[in-house]
């Protein structure tokens, strides 16, 4: 069991999700000799170059061929390997969608897909590089676990948890360095079990990925307005933590979901599906990216601001609907 000191937690969040992966995958390779990493010409971007140097026989470079990467991983896994396929979230979910469904999920193979730079984190790179619909697509596949960590400790810990699961997973990461620290101390994460970061009796904000930090910001603003917001880190999108949603619907009158993903089919939709089947008066507001292709580009922070994904914007939307 890997332990994380406060110092390490700080370091991981400073280096960001990509480098945290690059660091952890080497330890995973040391722990599990059956680890294989596959790259599709993004080994530097996904920080697996060091792994490839350390474990040259456990590293496959397929070039710019994501579909091939996924199917090869399924073949390796059918013969006992634990494979990590690394690429952008957009390519992982769109380019090789059918390979993910047929070869990874349907065959229930031990393949973990690491999707870097989800949401709009690639900023100026534009729509083709945004992971906007990945949750919606991946969520519809049976057998697939979907993890969307909010900071680098939760990512590292959930990644290790995932190595104990002999099956397919999609791990949705974001870009950049200096990730806001949500977990200051080591924590025992469990796949499928959300974490209530803040208690609150009035409303519940359920967030995933980097939006957890924004949800915490919003809850602080709301507190000054006398609204007590519960904040839930929904780090696993599938299997979804039904119990936490049910509890929130029973105890708070308003549930707000926040995600860096289009509103169609994402976390908000998943929560809506649960609430719709409950006998509850609790209402739902979904906050996320709009159902359109944006035409003006900017930095990640600027885009989040433009689309209402900041603590202030989220608090405003909640106050309007409270």
């Amino acid at each position: 069991m890997v332990k994380y000191s406060k110092k390490v937690i700080k370091e991981l969040n400073e280096i960001g999700f990509r480098d945290t992966f690059g660091r952890e995958i080497i330890n995973i390779g040391k722990t599990y000799p059956n680890t294989v990493v596959i790259a599709a010409d993004l080994s530097d971007a996904t920080r697996v170059t060091k792994f490839s140097e350390k474990f040259p026989y456990n590293f496959i470079q397929v070039g710019i061929a994501e579909q091939n990467m996924i199917s090869i991983a399924s073949g390796l896994s059918l013969n006992g390997k634990m494979c990590f396929c690394t690429t952008f979230a957009s390519f992982a979910s769109l380019r090789c969608c059918e390979q993910v469904r047929d070869d990874i999920c349907y065959q229930n193979t031990n393949v973990k897909i690491i999707g870097i730079d989800s949401g709009v984190s690639t900023g100026y790179l534009g729509i083709t590089h945004y992971g906007l619909e990945d949750i919606a697509i991946m969520r519809s596949f049976a057998n697939l676990t979907i993890i969307s960590p909010c900071d680098c400790l939760s990512f590292a810990k959930l990644l290790w948890e995932e190595t104990k699961h002999n099956g397919p997973a999609y791990i949705r990461l974001s870009g950049g360095k200096n990730i806001p620290i949500i977990y200051e101390k080591d924590y025992k994460f469990k796949i499928g079990k959300s974490v209530t970061l803040k208690e609150g009796k009035d409303i519940t904000i359920i967030a995933t990925g980097l939006m957890v930090s924004k949800a915490l910001d919003a809850s602080s603003i709301l507190r000054t307005r006398g609204i007590e917001a519960r904040v839930i880190d929904m780090h696993t999108i599938k299997p979804l933590d039904f119990a936490a949603i049910k509890k929130a619907a029973g105890e708070t009158n308003l549930i707000v979901t926040v995600e860096e993903h289009v509103l169609t089919g994402g976390l908000g939709s998943a929560v809506a599906e649960v609430i719709a089947e409950l006998d509850t008066n609790s209402r739902l507001i979904r906050i996320g990216l709009p159902d359109k292709f944006i035409s003006k580009f900017g930095s990640h922070e600027l885009l989040l601001k433009r689309y209402g994904l900041t603590g202030n914007n989220i608090a405003d939307s909640i106050i309007k609907n409270f």
Partner: protein, 284 residues
């Protein structure tokens, strides 16, 4: 030239005849719900030659880690796989009879089930060769000497992923990977020359760094010789097997109507069985 035991050839030819009969019986079970009988008849000699004369496997231990792997990438030709697995002793005959009858685990495309010899779920074209690359890579990583065989269609070679897999196999010198192209010249919409001409197919594979052999895909002797020969190369091998879609049943041969036929009724079934040297009483 590799000399192949004549007795073995005769034995496999007779098995292939029985397997064709059983494929016809399966098509009759599907009836008007439709069956890919043409593609099955096209591949039966290849698959029979593999299971009766080439592949290493243990019917008492179907998951034996050192077994050779066979992937039917053109999964729609499954009628040319199930009866071979049954004849090989991997798939129980009673299970074969459940095809298209009530609830069954035998679908119209193969579903991963190592217990009965099915190594991968296929159906959507262009996946199997990449899966095979993964299996061949794992053998190299683990210093195992089993071989991986993947049967693809000539129409299937339209898929870009076939060529992605080709590049990877070549880069990693996967001489433990053997692709077989069922080169029957017909695909769902018609003749491959018209739908999407892949000729010169030989040169395409060669230029991707593969060792290419062209054989008569209905000659057990030539198929066995080709499978033996490619044990001694340092790169992946492809056997372009010249076949006839619907082989063995005259009205199915080279007839695109039998790619997926919904009119394979009892009368046609009896006619087909007669051509194969069987009669109505052989239908199960």
């Amino acid at each position: 030239m590799f000399v192949i035991n004549k007795g073995l050839i005769k034995k496999i030819e007779e098995k292939a005849r029985i397997i064709r009969k059983n494929a016809i019986c399966l098509a009759l079970k599907a009836g008007e719900r439709g069956a890919h009988i043409g593609p099955a008849l096209s591949i039966i000699d290849i698959v029979t030659a593999l299971y009766m004369g080439v592949l290493k496997y243990d019917i008492r231990n179907p998951q034996w880690p050192d077994r050779d792997r066979f992937i039917l990438s053109k999964g729609h030709a499954v009628l040319g796989l199930y009866p071979v697995l049954a004849e090989a002793g991997l798939l129980p005959f009673d299970l074969l009879k459940s095809f298209y009858s009530g609830e069954t685990i035998l679908s119209g495309h193969p579903v991963l089930n190592q217990e009965i010899g099915i190594e991968a779920s296929t159906g959507s074209l262009g996946h199997g060769l990449s899966i095979g690359v993964g299996m061949a890579l794992s053998a190299k990583m683990d210093n195992k000497n089993f071989r991986t065989f993947v049967l693809v269609g000539d129409g299937e070679c339209n898929e870009g992923t076939i060529w992605e897999a080709c590049m990877t196999a070549s880069k990693y010198k996967l001489n433990n990977l053997i692709a077989i192209v069922d080169f029957n010249g017909l695909q769902a919409d018609g003749f491959t020359k018209e739908v999407m001409n892949m000729i010169p197919l030989n040169d395409k594979w060669k230029s991707f760094g593969w060792c290419v052999e062209e054989v008569d895909g209905h000659s057990i002797e030539k198929l066995l010789a080709a499978f033996k020969k490619n044990k001694f190369v340092d790169k992946p091998s492809v056997i372009i097997a010249h076949t006839v879609k619907g082989k063995g049943v005259s009205f199915c041969e080279n007839n695109k109507l039998y790619h997926h036929s919904r009119n394979f009724n009892l009368d046609l079934g009896i006619l087909a069985l007669k051509e194969l040297g069987f009669s109505e009483k052989d239908i199960w």
